[in-house]
């Protein structure tokens, strides 16, 4: 195919990229949307925090008057028990009576309150317990895992040569009292009072008011017992001892809630009293937990349930809302605060907000419950009595992790906005792509219409849309049509010119002939002779000018056939050599037949032009070489002459009509005295005075026409070493070839 004329792709900054850039600015919209969502969420959080903090403030105001509550752990001198390493136990009330039967069914509702202790040394030894108050008693259930249960010998006075439970407390009078439950066997048990002997544990008497049930279980034993609340002062601790060998009676292992050995080491305890319950009822709210702590974070009192069991937003199960939730959490980062799971069994309050409150700054904190859609918001407010901080009150509230999702309407609006934006921007992108494509298509169409010479080879099919691109397309189509008409006109000038010139030429010729006839018999008139020669030349020129047109007509009216180019060339060159003995020819071709679709007579004419051109420009004594080759269905025919190279500018234009090499170069050989008969062009009526014909530069143009008629292409190349010029025509092989 002939090379195409391209509109160069100068704009790498294409429409699409420009539109992309502009559309990037559209991303401000979702960005602003995200900012808005952020702000909204932050605002909603702020609001909730402030509200809760307000409630906490109210609560702390109410507590101002309850200074006694906070004095639990202040000694007579007013100094507080400040040591924070002492373990604190907060005991919450039970709502139902407990049967002391050694079985845990009645503790079912409080199952979450189990506190466990594990032995580091002995993984087989651990205990977990719940302590709760009901009426005037403190009930305790204790599961102990113990591989080997050793009971007290019935009559033994030693209480510690067996598995036992020690209860150490400070009574309301401030004295430390120790009890041991060391049973002889499962069943009903009661406590034994211990002497204050420190190490030795011998009974100083039964304490029947501390009583319960001891039952063996699969992995150990369970004890349920109760202690009258009146016994308990500010400190309480439990200690479980594991003895496996009664003989030496060594305590193999011990687990305790706090250090029972030393007085200062016993853990403190807070028990909800009716006083505190009343206070809490006043300031408590639904769905809020309220904690009262002293200066050392010990829980003095606690009440309330937060709806942690349920998800705060009811309908999260819907897929669309789950998706929205994911979307928002990706926008908001880590909504609902850092992960944490505040244990409702705490006896000591941890947390930055507590710390801040105890320093006098009310504070809030968010904790996100992992795996669920809720967070816990806690607000801590210091409690001031007479200007001094005595403790803090903390309110906890559960809340959805993403607050804006709580509001259905808001959620819908934001979602719809996001969807609308996506749709719009997709639509815009699509539209811009379509436009860009149409423009590209227009460019491609235009490229296809023009070939490398600027000749219009195809009509432009305008895009039929009633917009600017359609207009542009139609404009181009009109322009190309006009150009085509003009080009046609220009191309036809040659034909028109030659045609128009024929008539006056005929007039001149016939006049001269008449003149000759009139002068016949009289002396031969040299002027008539010269006129006739001039007329003959003119006629020759006209003929050659119209030759191209005649060949075009011949091409239109002829049918192609599949012929053997190789055989044809052999015969043609034989003939040519015979009629042109002074032009040496050299022919190389492969042995097999090479078929192509075409008209042999036209190929002969093309070869006439090429060979005569090569013969004119060859160096003296060198042959014109014709090479035929075929590779992969492509047939290549080369006509080569030895000679100086073609200038670069020439190489493309040499196949244009009216372009002659002679305008730039002189032919290599000297003009022969007697020119050989011309292969093309008219014979002179008086051959003796033949002059070389004027070169119109049409020979190669005709060669190209014929080549293109055969669906081939032709080009000129310079070869170096030795310097040669090659004219190369390529065609496609046609079907008859056998596969090689």
């Amino acid at each position: 195919m002939s090379p195409r004329f391209f509109i160069p792709k100068r704009f790498s900054f294409s429409l699409r990229r420009k539109l992309l850039l502009v559309s990037l600015s559209l991303f401000i919209i979702p960005w602003m949307g995200f900012q808005y969502i952020h702000e909204l969420e932050r605002h909603l959080r702020q609001q909730q925090q402030e509200m809760l903090l307000d409630k906490a403030r109210l609560a702390s105001n109410l507590l101002k008057n309850e200074a006694r509550l906070f004095e639990t752990f202040v000694d007579r001198n007013g100094h507080g028990i400040a040591d924070e390493t002492i373990h604190h136990l907060y005991i919450r009330p039970l709502h139902s009576p407990i049967q002391l039967d050694g079985y845990a069914e009645d503790w079912e509702p409080y199952a979450e309150r189990f506190i466990s202790h594990h032995s580091v040394n002995d993984p087989g030894f651990s205990f977990s317990y719940i302590a709760g108050t009901y009426r005037e008693y403190l009930y305790v259930i204790c599961h102990v895992t113990d591989r080997q249960i050793v009971y007290r010998k019935p009559n033994s006075l030693k209480l510690d040569h067996n598995d036992f439970i020690q209860i150490a407390m400070e009574n309301p009078q401030g004295e430390q009292v120790n009890y041991i439950i060391a049973t002889t066997g499962p069943g009903w048990v009661n406590a034994q009072r211990l002497s204050n002997n420190g190490q030795e544990r011998t009974s100083t008497g039964n304490e029947f008011r501390i009583k319960g049930e001891w039952q063996e279980s699969d992995d150990g034993y369970t004890v349920e017992f109760r202690i009258p609340q009146a016994f308990i002062g500010r400190r309480l601790a439990f200690s479980i001892a594991d003895v496996d060998d009664p003989q030496p009676g060594n305590i193999r292992n011990r687990l305790e809630t706090s250090n029972t050995s030393s007085e200062g080491g016993l853990g403190t305890v807070s028990i909800t009293t009716p006083l505190t319950e009343k206070i809490l009822n006043e300031i408590g709210h639904d769905n809020t937990r309220i904690w009262i702590t002293d200066r050392n974070r010990r829980v003095l009192s606690m009440q309330g349930e937060i709806a942690a069991g349920m998800d705060a937003v009811a309908t999260q199960s819907r897929w669309s809302e789950r998706m929205t939730g994911l979307l928002y959490s990706s926008i908001l980062g880590e909504p609902g605060g850092a992960p944490g799971d505040p244990d409702q069994n705490r006896s000591v309050m941890e947390g930055d907000e507590i710390t801040a409150a105890l320093q006098g700054r009310p504070a809030t904190a968010w904790r996100s419950l992992p795996g669920r859609n809720i967070s816990i918001l806690s607000a801590s407010h210091p409690v001031l009595v007479d200007g001094a901080i005595v403790g803090a009150v903390t309110l906890e509230e559960s809340s959805s992790k993403i607050l804006i999702l709580q509001n259905q309407a808001l959620q819908n609006i934001v979602s719809i906005t996001l969807i609308a934006f996506s749709v719009t921007s997709l639509g815009l992108l699509l539209f811009s792509s379509i436009i860009s494509n149409r423009v590209t298509r227009l460019r491609n169409d235009i490229n296809e219409c023009i070939d490398h010479e600027g000749k219009i080879v195809k009509r432009l099919d305008p895009q039929n849309s009633a917009d600017e691109i359609g207009d542009l397309s139609a404009g181009f189509a009109r322009m190309l049509d006009r150009l085509h008409e003009y080009n046609d006109y220009l191309e036809n000038i040659r034909g028109t010119l030659s045609h128009e010139l024929r008539t006056p030429l005929t007039i001149v010729r016939s006049s001269i002939e008449n003149l000759e006839q009139a002068l016949e018999g009289k002396q031969e008139n040299i002027y008539i002779r010269r006129a006739q020669e001039g007329i003959a030349q003119l006629g020759g020129i006209l003929n050659r000018m119209s030759e191209a047109t005649r060949i075009e007509q011949a091409m239109q009216h002829s049918e192609k056939s599949c012929f053997d180019l190789n055989d044809f060339l052999q015969r043609y060159l034989d003939g040519y050599q015979g009629s042109h003995p002074s032009t040496p020819l050299a022919f190389t071709a492969p042995p097999q037949a090479i078929h192509m679709q075409g008209i042999p007579e036209l190929m002969a004419q093309m070869l006439d032009k090429l060979i005569s051109n090569a013969a004119d420009y060859r160096a003296q004594q060198t042959p014109v070489t014709i090479e035929l080759s075929s590779h992969r269905r492509k047939v290549t025919l080369r006509v080569i002459n030895v000679g100086p190279p073609l200038p670069a500018a020439m190489r493309e234009h040499i196949f244009d009509p009216m372009v002659s090499q002679r305008t730039l170069m002189q032919p290599q050989e000297t003009k022969p005295v007697l020119p050989e008969p011309l292969p093309a062009g008219p014979q002179q009526s008086t051959p003796q005075h033949a002059t070389p014909p004027v070169h119109l530069g049409l020979g190669l143009y005709i060669a190209r026409l014929i080549c293109e008629f055969h669906n081939g292409s032709i080009r000129a190349e310079n070869i170096s070493d030795p310097e040669r010029v090659a004219f190369i025509a390529t065609f496609r092989e046609c079907g008859k070839t056998s596969l090689y």
Binding site: I507, N514, I551, G575, Q605, Q683
Partner: protein, 231 residues
């Protein structure tokens, strides 16, 4: 007896030049510049020969009409067409108007005269059969050198004068290659390669119409053509 030739040509200078020349050759010449003029002129006054330009002024096919009118009156009158364009020759051939020859306006008056003489000789050969027939036989081809007619396997082939001369040139020496120069000389014409090719093509197609196995004219690429005998 003096022969009358009618010339119909719209370009006055050419028309008069032809007329003058032919008069000097001894013919009586009537010349017309347009179709209507010519038709009126020949009505009731048929000439002995007609030289017709095809395009007469704005009338693209004026010459054809005159030809038809003449043929209606006489089947034997020799008619020569003068063509300005080359594709006219194909057209004329295709129309089968019974023209005796079609010539390019390029033709020299001497060559024109040769044809006119030959055509008049042919008429004589028809009206007064010659004492001795001169028929050239080459295989299935028979060329009557006096009547300028050709027969292939006894079927008459309607060749123009130019075509006859070319066929004669080839068939005279079967197997010999004739180049364009030789063909042109024999045909009393000066034309280029392509025109020769189209003449040969027309000759071939006329023979093939009579016998579709005809392939006695062989193209010898690079040189010319030759007649193949005894196929």
């Amino acid at each position: 007896m003096q022969k009358t030739i009618v010339i119909v040509e719209d370009e006055p200078a050419i028309r008069e030049n032809y007329a003058d020349y032919l008069r000097k050759e001894g013919y009586r010449v009537r010349s017309y510049g347009g179709r209507d003029e010519a038709l009126k002129g020949i009505q009731g006054n048929i000439p002995d020969m007609a030289l017709l330009d095809i395009r007469l002024g704005s009338d693209m096919d004026g010459g054809f009409e005159i030809c038809r009118a003449l043929r209606a009156s006489s089947a034997t009158i020799p008619i020569l067409f003068l063509t300005a364009r080359d594709n006219d020759m194909d057209r004329i051939s295709g129309l089968r108007l019974g023209a005796d020859d079609y010539l390019s306006k390029d033709i020299s008056l001497a060559h024109l005269n040769a044809r006119i003489s030959a055509l008049f000789r042919r008429i004589e050969a028809y009206t007064a059969p010659p004492v001795q027939e001169q028929i050239m036989h080459r295989g299935a081809l028979a060329l009557d050198m006096q009547r300028y007619t050709a027969r292939w396997r006894d079927t008459p082939i309607d060749l123009t004068l130019t075509e006859f001369w070319m066929t004669h040139c080839l068939a005279l020496h079967p197997g010999h290659v004739k180049n364009r120069e030789q063909l042109m000389n024999e045909a009393n014409t000066v034309v280029d390669e392509t025109t020769i090719t189209s003449h040969i093509k027309r000759i071939r197609s006329k023979f093939i119409r009579a016998d579709d196995a005809f392939d006695s004219i062989e193209t010898v690429y690079g040189i010319g053509y030759r007649w193949l005998d005894n196929r």
